[in-house]
Symmetry: D2
Subunit: 350 residues, 4 copies
């Protein structure tokens, strides 16, 4: 398969850096352009990002000398990955889609739009069908697909096997989220040392609404929301990467603990069937061990692309409770957007 | 009122130190003896504890030169505070009670005994009546009262106003607990740096069972457990002091958000009515502010003796959700045992 | 003595908050005005600082309702404490001094000016004499006194007894400085988690130059710098408050370890002789114990106003080495400026 | 070249785990036996180490099912890597050496013995010659080689180019050492949260004495110590891996800053000439950037096998100062012992 040319918009930010680290050796895409703010445009990437590169292993050599461009249609790419700050991303992403680019966005701008798929490839690959509607509605030559919020991706990917097999009726989730989820500079060290921040702006709302669209049914060109009751408490803890979520669920159809565990472990989705290069072999890992998963020890399981489940046990109020861990800047952001793009390519949308 | 002589058993450990710091200027009790292991017995307290004193402000001068004794009946005291390690405390506490001492214990040994009160003075002061039964049953001249587990105390004290007024039907709680709850040396730094530990041995079981006894009815000399469904997820986070708990509740009787808030704020218990010296003026604080309470900022409200509630809001599954914070080594341990003892003294049990 | 009216400029920032916490019960000064940016002016203090108050214990009640003013001469005060950001402080402090106010500044703006005293009251109280020169030179009715940089104050106060008695020839210092030294929001949590930052802008330069002025001789209205060789390595570590400094010194006159220790302990300066209210009883504490001082355990010794020395021992290259700890936002900032003001008042400059 | 069979003694501990992670794909050695305490002997490795594996990436599969043996001669290996606790290692390592095994030890037991080489392959490869003396002296068929203490290795490797070219006269070093240097469980979380520990037992003594032997001349079968003055201050900071050292040096022969920098960068030692598999390509990295090296960002440069130098500048007292970083459990422990073994094999000692 011929590689498609890909641009990263917002390439100097923390999520942008993660996109580049993950795309360095991607067999589907070749990074052909790096977009950033006017301030950075015209500089070599290594100079534009100087002192702010935070991903382990340093700037990949192949990107260091590339010249950063402005985020405007015209750049040489078939697909653009959206990692701009949400406050400015909306018109830019639309401009690219209008001009015929495929946009795989990690921003929240279009997540809840009626004609934009909110994608996790293992969960709702069929939602790509809405793309035709989108292009027609908006008169665009290209289109936008989005991925959910980081804490939502981990939860929905991890619980999807149960929803598909038994039906989820209720989800109660309390998150302990990593610092990198707030971007850079993000959380002040004086706020988190010897502390927990029991509030993340808009996060509970996202976790309570996005899953309903992700698990929605696409009927006559419209998303019909899933009927699940979700309650989320979101907290920030002093951890670099990896969102940990304490979850209790009620199932529509009763199932034994063993069935639940087996269902989680056996699940494979479209990306696994298609063998997409960024797909985890096993999207939901069930760990044994009485104190797992732990963010530092387990966030890089399956290269950070899986949801890791542990401490599965009966819940005295709902049916089951468990811990769930997902790498927030890999599967929860850049990695999901890349997997979305790989699905688009496998399905000939690019 | 004449001060009663008090001994602290396990005076060199972390909870023992906290007892001493809190008793330094207590108007009801005068520390007359310090008990510890055979290894420490015979040494000056400051030498026995050398290099292991961890409470802010250093060893109170009045205790520094006291000579540590073995933990055996015979020491000069009317009441003994139990801060020994649970693995060895049981026969020692019993020996003291048998010999006529009042024992206010922080250990878990007798918490669930049928004839031992599991006390939070604001919540179940009437349970002191079981003491007569206990003395008769066991043929003891003295008696034992206990306080609950640290995470339970914070939760039950904080929710008690709602239970008394509207009835609690269900409680779902996810804790983010402080390191000091594990004692010293406790949690290894390599285990918690850049990490969360999603398991605390026996903690969920305690949080799910102890509240039923605390809120039980004492009928014909027997505790009849409260009928509440409780589900607990317990986690350890990188915080020194202060257990934070994300809680959702269902009430038996419906109530508006304002009623709930007012009920929490207006609650005063027996210790407040009696003006006990260690009692917080307001046992349940309701903080405004979108990201409160926070462990480092708010754990010392009311000198660490209150439950601090914040982010009270409706819950999409149960009725209400909120954050709750309690200082685990003050109200959650030594401070509660001291308040229990003050209640005993006010009620003429000592 | 009648209290003098005092204003705090930059009252909403981190150092400004510390000024207020320390001035709450000061017997020399009554806070009569709070100055801040135009954005805050006109608001109640508690609203202007909302959500950004970081000092333990919350906003002192007596300041909560005060209305914040703009930082312009005319406000009702005899002395103004300077806690503005250094980037804007210079003209403002000068305007106040010109209009007859005494300015006790914590900013770096005028520290190295030829006619401005750089004061640590225990070290160079005689430097106040330059004030007359300053007023004459500049045609001001008021004047400015400054305190040194936080890491410099701790070091110079702690080593001053040795310099006065034996003469310091060389100082090699490596600092491990606290996060609060960088202000708020200051250091990003992602930069310091599991990390050390081996660079603090301009800090080494300050530590190498300011001590020479503090220990200078005032001759014919001019500061003649002390002749000491200083080399500083400055680092930021993951600690909230308290700068720890590993120091080696060469003395001009030889002295035994016991003499050195006794000299440190016995030292008392002008603030101790005058009994100034914010003065530590003992300005230099020598701790025994093989691993002391430690920031969290020892930063509040003498209410954060002392330099705490430990591990005093011979150095294989210079003469002696030691650890030294100072609370950077108390003695190293607001506390020093307040003590400077108390000295001014005791000496009738206000 | 045929692989040599290698055993790891103390395979379940933290350093032992690091040995295994590093040996997994080593082209010179095949791990043929895992030695540990009697308690672990007979168990599968994955069971013996259960819950205590701390190296990223989990237990290498090829070792998981191996059965742990007691640490006694007779096990199937030509070389044994010593990672036992120093308190018990001495007789065990000697027993192996007596029975003809080559022992590459990371313990401190024999480091300062007169006939045991204290090796850093880039620094003193010629010291292997002492092995013949050792075997003759002790009547052993095998022999012991050791590597220095972790903080010493980083410093001596990093400064070696300067010593070889210009001669080191004085070294002043202040360390900020990582938690993993204290083993597991090691430092209590309550001791290091919001804190620095300004003391590490015996560490300063090691840093002041070991370099003199490493840089000694081997004359007539005796080590003649180098003549360098060293002063060390050792501190523990809240960092997982990577010892950071603030160093000032005086050179015997003057050199410009550029010469110093070039000398550090250009240095290559015996392992680089021989192309040993675990050798870093460039043993001393000089980083530009005003705040580098940093432990979390730079500890894995050259797979953790290099000394990373930054902020090289003139020192006002000695000649130059710099920051130096080394990965304490890789180059500072298991990695150095493995590189020693590779040198032994290349030189036909095994």
């Amino acid at each position: 398969m011929k590689k498609s040319k890909a641009a990263v918009l917002g390439a100097t930010g923390m999520v942008g850096q993660r996109f580049l680290a993950l795309l360095e050796n991607n067999p589907f895409f070749e990074v052909s352009a790096l977009g950033a703010s006017e301030r950075s445009a015209g500089k070599k990437y290594k100079e534009a990002v100087a002192g702010r590169w935070v991903v382990e292993g340093g700037i990949p050599e192949k990107f260091a000398e590339m010249v950063v461009e402005k985020c405007e249609p015209g750049i040489d790419a078939e697909i653009v990955f959206g990692a701009l700050d949400s406050s400015i991303a909306e018109p830019i992403e639309q401009a690219f889609a209008k001009e015929g680019y495929a946009v795989s966005s990690n921003t929240r701008c279009h997540r809840m739009d009626e004609d934009v798929p909110l994608m996790i490839p293992e969960v709702n690959p069929g939602h790509l069908e809405i793309i035709e509607t989108q292009k027609k509605n908006r008169g665009w030559d290209g289109f936008i697909v989005t991925n959910p919020n980081c804490s939502t991706i981990a939860m929905v990917l991890g619980l999807n096997p149960l929803h598909r097999k038994f039906g989820l009726e209720k989800i109660m989730v309390t998150t302990m989220q990593a610092l990198s989820g707030a971007g850079y500079p993000g959380v002040a060290s004086l706020d988190i040392l010897d502390n927990v921040l029991p509030y993340i702006k808009n996060e509970e709302e996202k976790m309570q609404s996005e899953p309903l669209k992700i698990w929605s049914e696409l009927k006559d060109g419209k998303f019909v929301n899933a009927n699940i009751n979700i309650s989320a408490h979101c907290n920030r803890v002093n951890v670099k990467d990896g969102h940990l979520e304490a979850i209790s669920v009620a199932l529509k159809e009763k199932a034994s603990l063993d069935e639940v565990k087996k269902t989680l472990r056996d699940f494979r989705g479209e990306p696994q069937k298609l063998g997409l290069p960024s797909a985890p072999k096993q999207p939901v890992i069930v760990m044994e061990g009485e104190a797992r998963p732990q963010p530092r020890l387990d966030r890089m399981v399956e290269r950070g692309m899986a949801s890791v489940v542990g401490r599965l046990r009966e819940d005295p109020i709902l049916d089951y409770k468990l811990l769930l861990l997902g790498h927030n800047t890999i599967r929860g952001a850049a990695g999901c957007a890349i997997l979305n793009a790989e699905l688009l390519k496998a399905k000939k949308y690019i």
